[in-house]
């Protein structure tokens, strides 16, 4: 299974973290520090796998962002690379030519999309279309709720409560 997903920029700034196995706050910080230290200096022509503390970390760089996933030693590295690519493609479709800034300003959306791709550290949906549909449906729900909350009558109702 996937133990965690980590996105960080070329400067080592964290853009997204998702922990599927229990890590304490301290451990999380340590993992991020160590892994960015291991992965960032690696050149472009090296393989995308790092053996690290008995587990394997699969990473791939897209533009200025590194996508890392940590998997068990018996897991399939190539499959994991494909999961990363799958996620990136879905992000790309959703944001339309996704770039780092999209993820910075919509970090919650990056999470929501990730939650539709992975659950409990496993791939849950291999169809990009399904994910896009589900995300769109949820966005509609959110918008509807927001509209309702922001409507003038609602504000008045709140203010005069």
């Amino acid at each position: 299974m996937i133990h965690f997903v980590l996105l960080f920029s070329r400067q080592g700034k964290v853009r997204l973290t998702k922990w599927y196995s229990p890590y304490s706050q301290k451990e999380r910080a340590k993992v991020i520090r160590e892994l960015s230290g291991v992965i960032l200096p690696r050149g472009p022509k090296l393989c995308n796998f790092v053996e690290w503390r008995g587990v394997k970390v699969v990473y791939k760089r897209y533009a200025s962002l590194y996508f890392c996933m940590c998997i068990d030693s018996e897991d399939n590295e190539l499959e994991c690379l494909e999961i990363i690519h799958h996620y990136v493609q879905i992000l790309d479709r959703y944001f339309g030519n996704v770039c780092e800034l999209d993820l910075i300003f919509n970090f919650h959306k990056a999470y929501f999309i990730l939650d539709e791709v992975l659950i409990a550290g496993e791939l849950q949906e291999s169809s990009k279309k399904s994910v896009a549909r589900v995300i769109a449906a949820q966005d509609a729900l959110v918008d509807a709720a927001k509209e309702q909350a922001a409507s003038l009558s609602n504000i008045i109702a709140q203010a005069t409560r």
């Binding site: 997204l16 998702k18 090296l46 399939n76 496993e122 791939l123 909350a149």
Partner: protein
């Protein structure tokens, strides 16, 4: 209240926060602290919108900075419980990011989660499932299992899929859930939607990895799925499952080999091919065809441009190392080429394979290649290579090496590598080989001499350890040196000042040894070639004996390396006295004596009197300044050396002020016969040959009489003292018995049996039955009577130092030099590697095995097991509300478990059925029975249950003869 409206108007949104963070000028930490302060206020707002935005901002800061936001947990729960989806979503995200097992509010959210899991809105249910998969605790998992269980049969695909995967987390937190949900999970393998099937396979795959055995009965299902799968994700998981199942069931491997090969041939997806390869290497290594195909594919991988594939190709070869060595040798070229790959992980991987391939036949070739790469590699990898060479070649007791001449040259070459960081190991091996392999000493000396003579090497601090070993070797084995003068010159070269004191001291000690050796040889050569032929013979005899006398002497000194001058003075009369007593004794070290004497004669012809004179002068000039050295060790050795030199010069009548006077030489030669005795005595100090010491030597040392480790500390009454090593006390007791015997000579019956036991167990550190000193009782007897302590210690230390004759390696067919191997010496790396399976067998797999195997054990275990189960069901009763009425709760739960049991049982029953809709049948039957029972009243139900149990019991019994071996996993015939 207007204030909340104002708050929400003036609140900074997430966008504002992010933008502000990017353009801030006050420093990120300060900006974050400020923002945090703001959110702290906002989060207390009564307006949900304000609160939600605050929570969202907190989540962001939490992710970015790893801030602790547990203080906001309660507010997060409030946002989670909002009825508006947009807020709920924010709340759930915050919860799944920041909550952990220790978060207190987890106790409060059980009902919230339960409500949301049952929500009509599938996305709300999805949020709750996501969150549960992240934060599940045993309690949460237990309480929510019924909800997840219900969701497995939801009509909405989205919910079904998520619920299936969440089972993985629920099972791991609350293994008892398996009893309830396992059957439904298996049913999901036949779901109409491939995503759900994939989810179920994923869960089963994860479970099977930790303990494959219980899942063998599902093999036909997996087989069917694999045959029909068109989805690579699914195929990968299925192939992986077979990879873990095959090693436990060889018959399955036979069946599955062909389909796996089929997958490998037809698919274009590298990930699937890779998974197949892995399955073949792990589970199908018996099948030649499959392995050949896999190796074929691996070859393609290794030849690829993509470093990922090269890396994985190399990595997958290693499991084949022992079972199919041809797979490696066939690809040797490719593997060796990877040594110079740009990627360090590929280099390391290929190095691992290469060292795995090393055998006696190719060790030289391989090491030469590695050495060549080491010269041209980056420092880090260079050291990897060096350490690989050193550890491979020293494996066992240098098991792989037949040509030690070559190997000591390799060691010399390694020591000279500029990046070498393993000098300590080189040092150890140089000395170790010197001690263990007699026949290579000449070549070893040559290598060491070259190291010592190169003045440039003294500059490199990393070489000092190797140099110290080299210096020791030339000193110790000076007898095989061709040119002692050259050695002394090298050891005394001016640049030795650069050495650290400890190494310098070794240098000086070696000078001492070489000097003594060469003067002694000269004297002997001179005496024996001269007209006093008789003297030589006498002297030879003398030396033989004195050598043994000296051995005793050395033990008394507890083996000090630096013999100080008083000893030297004492020594002579002492050993002379003993000669008469022990004329008749058998020499212990005859071999060494023989070779040594032989080479001495050779050397003697080369060592001229003039050379000795020059040597003395050289030592005097170079060592005198060291008398003022600040380092005590160096100073002391220097003064020893000079003291000895002076003494020898005195005896020989050489004066320091005049150099190379022919008269000097003449007087020297005149006094040579006087000097012979003295020099022989000194030489004999150094002539005891040290042996390799076993790693276990320490344990052989008996605790001496006076040393009372236990009671004295007890007297102190220190409360914190705990003797946690039971062995110490026992050894001490045994030691006391031992000493008692030697003191009294007689022992009581009980103690004697104990003593006999002990002697049997620790033969090695008892004196042999015939005393060590053989039949010369005149010496050994008084020793034992007067000082039992001494004799013990003597025996111990002799046993430690002497190579054990019975431990030496059985003679080999090929001409490998004798390598001394101690009896109890084991290969230090012989630790059983931790197996993954052993680590992973946890409570989860135990439960699964219980669930899956229950029906079989039942026929033996009977009623108390039933009781246990009844109590479990009672335990669940509360949480197990579902569509059925409360009245039948207990009964229903019983049915779930029962149904599962029956499924498995019916599988057993129709083992020989060819097709697999067994589950369907079983299900129908169990459903029918549950319906039937739910009609009865509670009391009646209980009665019937008893009845049913009885029925099943009898049915089991009827079947039990077929079922004699509970361990054999059942696989339907069509597979086998």
């Amino acid at each position: 209240m207007g204030s909340s409206v104002m708050e929400s108007f003036f609140q900074r949104s997430l966008d504002d926060l992010v933008k502000g963070l990017r353009v801030q000028v006050i420093g990120e930490a300060r900006y974050v602290a400020k923002a945090l302060e703001e959110t702290r206020k906002e989060i207390k707002s009564t307006d949900l919108h304000t609160k939600a935005v605050a929570v969202q901002k907190l989540t962001y800061l939490h992710m970015l900075q790893g801030l602790d936001i547990s203080w906001a947990a309660f507010h997060v729960v409030e946002v989670m419980s909002s009825s508006k989806f947009c807020f709920k979503k924010i709340g759930y995200l915050a919860a799944s990011q920041s909550f952990h097992e220790g978060t207190e509010v987890l106790l409060l959210i059980t009902n919230l989660l339960r409500k949301d899991l049952g929500s009509k809105n599938e996305y709300e249910a999805g949020l709750a499932l996501d969150c549960l998969s992240r934060i599940a605790t045993p309690d949460l998992a237990r309480d929510l299992t019924p909800e997840v269980f219900t969701m497995l049969t939801s009509s909405r695909l989205y919910v079904r899929k998520k619920a299936t995967l969440v089972l993985l987390k629920v099972f791991s937190k609350y293994p008892d859930a398996i009893r309830i949900a396992f059957k439904r999970l298996v049913e999901k393998l036949e779901d109409s939607d491939t995503q759900v099937v994939g989810a179920a396979v994923t869960v089963l795959c994860e479970l099977a990895i930790s303990d494959p055995k219980p899942y063998l009965p599902l093999a036909p299902e997996f087989y069917r799925l694999l045959a029909n799968s068109s989805n690579n994700w699914l195929s990968i998981k299925l192939v992986k499952i077979f990879g873990v199942l095959c090693p436990v069931e060889p018959r399955l491997a036979r069946k599955i080999a062909e389909p796996i090969c089929e997958q490998m041939r037809k698919t274009g997806a590298k990930s699937l091919v890779f998974e197949c390869i892995r399955t073949v290497t792990l589970g199908l290594s018996e099948h030649a065809g499959a392995v050949e195909l896999a190796v074929e594919k691996l070859k393609e991988f290794m030849a690829e441009e993509d470093p990922n594939l090269r890396y994985l190709g190399l990595q997958s070869l290693s499991p084949l190392m022992s079972s199919h060595p041809w797979a490696l040798t066939e690809n040797k070229l490719l593997i060796v080429r990877c040594l110079k790959d740009a990627d360090p992980s590929i280099q390391v991987e290929s190095l691992r394979l290469i060292t795995g391939m090393v055998s006696e036949d190719n060790v030289i070739e391989t090491v030469e290649i590695l050495l060549q790469y080491a010269r041209s590699s980056e420092p880090v990898f260079c050291n990897e290579l060096i350490s690989a060479i050193l550890s491979t070649c020293s494996k066992g007791i240098y098991d792989l090496i037949t040509d030690f001449t070559w190997y000591v040259q390799v060691l010399g070459a390694i020591a000279r590598l500029p990046n070498c960081e393993h000098e300590a190991e080189v040092e150890r091996q140089l000395v170790d080989i010197g001690l263990r392999v007699k026949s290579v000493r000449g070549d070893l000396l040559k290598v060491c001499r070259e190291l010592l003579m190169d003045p440039a090497l003294l500059d490199h601090a990393h070489l000092h350890k190797a140099l110290s070993a080299a210096a020791w070797v030339v000193g110790e084995f000076a007898e095989v040196a061709h040119d002692p003068f050259q050695l002394i010159e090298a050891l005394l070269q001016p640049r030795t000042k650069l050495l650290p004191a400890s190494v310098h001291a070794v240098y000086l000690q070696s000078v001492l040894k070489i000097f003594v050796f060469s003067t002694h040889t000269w004297v002997r050569g001179f005496v024996s070639t001269g007209d006093q032929g008789g003297t030589a013979v006498v002297e030879e005899e003398f030396e033989k004996n004195s050598r043994e006398g000296v051995k005793d002497q050395e033990e008394n000194l507890s083996g000090s390396a630096g013999i100080s001058s008083p000893v030297f003075h004492d020594l002579n009369p002492n050993s002379e006295e003993r000669i008469d007593n022990r004329q008749h004794k058998k020499p212990m070290v005859e071999d060494k004596e023989g070779t040594c004497a032989e080479s001495n004669v050779h050397l003697a012809t080369r060592i001229s009197s003039r050379l000795i004179l020059e040597m003395m002068e050289l030592i005097r000039v170079n060592v005198s300044p060291l008398l003022n050295s600040v380092e005590m060790e160096v100073q002391e050795r220097a003064s020893n050396l000079l003291g000895l030199l002076k003494k020898v010069q005195e005896i020989l009548g050489v004066r320091n002020d005049k150099l190379h006077e022919p008269m000097d030489i003449h007087t020297m030669e005149q006094h040579s016969s006087t000097a012979a005795n003295v020099l022989a005595g000194i030489q004999s100090i150094f002539s005891v040959e040290p042996g390799p010491v076993s790693l276990l030597a320490q344990s052989k040392v008996t605790v001496p009489k006076g040393l009372d480790l236990v009671s004295s500390l007890d007297e102190l009454g220190h409360p914190s003292y705990v003797d946690d090593d039971p062995g110490t006390e026992k050894d001490w007791e045994d030691g006391r018995f031992f000493l008692k015997k030697s003191r009294d000579g007689s022992i009581s019956g009980e103690t004697s049996s104990l003593l006999a036991l002990h002697r049997e167990k620790h033969v090695t550190f008892y004196l042999p039955n015939q005393a060590y000193f053989g039949d010369s009782n005149d010496l050994s007897q008084p020793l034992q009577e007067d000082a039992p302590m001494l004799s013990d210690r003597l025996a111990d230390s002799l046993m430690l130092a002497e190579p054990k004759p019975q431990g030496s390696k059985p003679p080999q067919a090929k001409a490998r030099p004798v390598v001394i191997r101690l009896e109890d010496e084991q290969e230090p790396f012989d630790h059983p590697s931790k197996s993954r399976k052993g680590l992973k067998v946890d409570i989860l797999s135990t439960t699964i095995r219980e669930v899956l195997m229950e029906n079989k054990t039942k026929s033996w275990a009977t009623s108390n097991r039933r009781d246990a189960r009844a109590s479990t069901s009672k335990h669940h009763r509360r949480s197990h509300r579902s569509a059925k009425s409360k009245k039948h709760e207990r009964n229903e739960h019983g049915d779930v478990v029962q149904a599962l049991d029956e499924t498995i049982m019916s599988r057993d029953a129709i083992e020989d059925d060819v097709n697999s809709p067994q589950i369907g049948k079983a299900e129908k039957r169990s459903d029918a029975s549950s319906r039937r029972h739910s009609k009865h009243s509670k009391n009646h139900a209980q009665l019937t249950r008893e009845n049913r149990e009885g029925m099943r019991y009898s049915r089991q019994r009827a079947r039990s003869p077929l079922n004699i071996q509970p361990e054999v996993a059942i696989i339907p015939d069509f597979l086998l």
